[in-house]
């Protein structure tokens, strides 16, 4: 089963929940993997402390033009939707950071003057945590705009995706990196904080789950910090509130130090284990929890 953790607003506690969830389940002897898809700002490794022994570059294939064969016809520039290849002054210029690696220019060139070379966007790293959780994350190179290809390749790592339970830690927001992280999940846990910002962004995130057609539930983190807006919204829309994690200085400080939630509040181990069973039941019966 693939369970993704998303939020809308940043800093609500996705990684806190994802890591605690993965740890709780691995202690129940399931085979668990934790996939950190927040490739712009990955943090899960801080809490899980995997021993990294697998590394893979993420490359996009970008065009390389053979100036001798190029006739300057400009067809490549015409088909490029991203302005990554330009013909001017009898020369063909490639702008790698604009290139999506689609291969279209390479295919259309009538002189077959274009070949493809790899352009690195980032790196994937993986390994086992001391508790036996299979871990993987992606790290987008500084200055590279596109997170999606890195996430996409991370989610193709078979040893991660083959685990009995795959826990996916997704980035904040509601646009393409989030969509790429959440695609293919069986269930999505939306982590929010009970404040106006949290609620506003939760609505966006919930819409994403609807667009993807994946059932979702809510975990309220820092419960008590704000107001009842999220509760009201959940009731109106009919999303289950799966769990509440209270606003407690002890939790905040533990997380600040890089400790996992289970280290600070061991009782959450069984809450997350129960949650997993409930999600499983809900999915098989097609009902809410």
């Amino acid at each position: 089963m693939k369970i993704a953790i998303a939020s809308g607003k940043g800093g609500t506690g996705k990684t806190t929940v994802a890591t605690a969830f993965a740890q709780a389940l691995s202690r129940k002897e399931y085979s668990v993997s934790l996939v950190d898809c927040d490739v712009e700002a990955p943090n899960a490794h801080i809490f899980i402390q995997p021993i990294l022994d697998q590394f893979e570059d993420v490359n996009v294939l970008i065009p390389s033009v053979d100036a001798d064969s190029c006739t300057g016809c400009g067809l490549c520039a015409e088909v490029c939707q991203f302005h990554a290849i330009v013909v001017i002054g009898g020369k063909t210029l490639v702008f790698p950071e604009m290139c999506h690696g689609c291969g279209s220019c390479t295919l259309v060139c009538p002189e077959q003057a274009i070949s493809e070379i790899p352009n690195r966007l980032g790196v994937l790293e993986g390994g086992l945590s001391q508790e036996g959780i299979r871990f993987g994350h992606g790290i987008l190179d500084i200055g590279e705009p596109m997170a999606v290809p890195v996430i996409s390749k991370l989610k193709k790592w078979q040893n991660l995706m083959d685990a009995e339970i795959v826990v996916i830690d997704s980035p904040p927001g509601a646009s393409c990196p989030v969509v790429e992280s959440l695609r293919g999940a069986d269930y999505i846990i939306l982590v929010t904080e009970p404040t106006p910002f949290g609620l506003h962004d939760l609505r966006q995130a919930y819409q994403v789950t609807q667009v993807l057609g994946i059932p979702a539930g809510i975990i309220i983190n820092r419960d008590g910090i704000g107001d009842t807006g999220v509760d009201q919204y959940s009731a109106e829309v009919g999303i289950d509130i799966l769990m509440r994690i209270p606003l407690e200085r002890k939790i905040g400080q533990g997380i600040a130090q890089g400790k996992s939630l289970l280290e600070v509040k061991p009782e959450y181990e069984k809450y997350f284990q129960q949650l997993y069973l409930q999600i499983g039941e809900a999915l098989s019966s097609g009902n809410n929890l």
């Binding site: 991203f82 302005h83 330009v86 001017i88 210029l93 604009m98 705009p145």
Partner: protein, 119 residues
């Protein structure tokens, strides 16, 4: 020769625009006759790659030199490929910059001077 100066409001006597790829207008001047016209920059709302697109526009208009505050790497690479000479200035109206260009006091650049604006 024909040169282009980046501009915010398309006027000859108001402060120029220090940005190249997404300035609002280019002031296109004939350095021999001093005749000028203002043309809207088609790359202003470009989806991406504004610098190179602006250069393509200027190249098509017969421009041989450009004056602005700074060039991103992609804009510069395209200017170089097009054989257009790139100059920079810190301040001035298009009229003042034309004079500076004619008297040879403007700095010509041989590499990108601004940060990469990838969009």
């Amino acid at each position: 020769m024909i040169i282009a100066i980046s501009s915010t409001d398309g006027k000859f006597n108001t402060e120029f625009s220090p940005r190249f790829g997404r300035c609002n207008f280019f002031i296109i001047v004939d350095t021999d006759t001093r005749e000028w016209e203002s043309k809207p920059n088609p790359a202003l709302n470009a989806r991406g790659g504004a610098g190179p697109q602006a250069v393509q526009f200027l190249s098509g208009a017969g421009v041989e030199a450009t004056i602005t505050g700074r060039y991103g790497p992609n804009a510069y690479t395209t200017l170089e490929a097009a054989g257009i000479r790139a100059y920079v200035a810190e301040a001035g109206t298009p009229e003042e910059l034309l004079d500076a260009f004619l008297s040879g006091t403007l700095e010509e650049v041989s590499s990108a001077t601004g940060e990469e604006l990838h969009h």
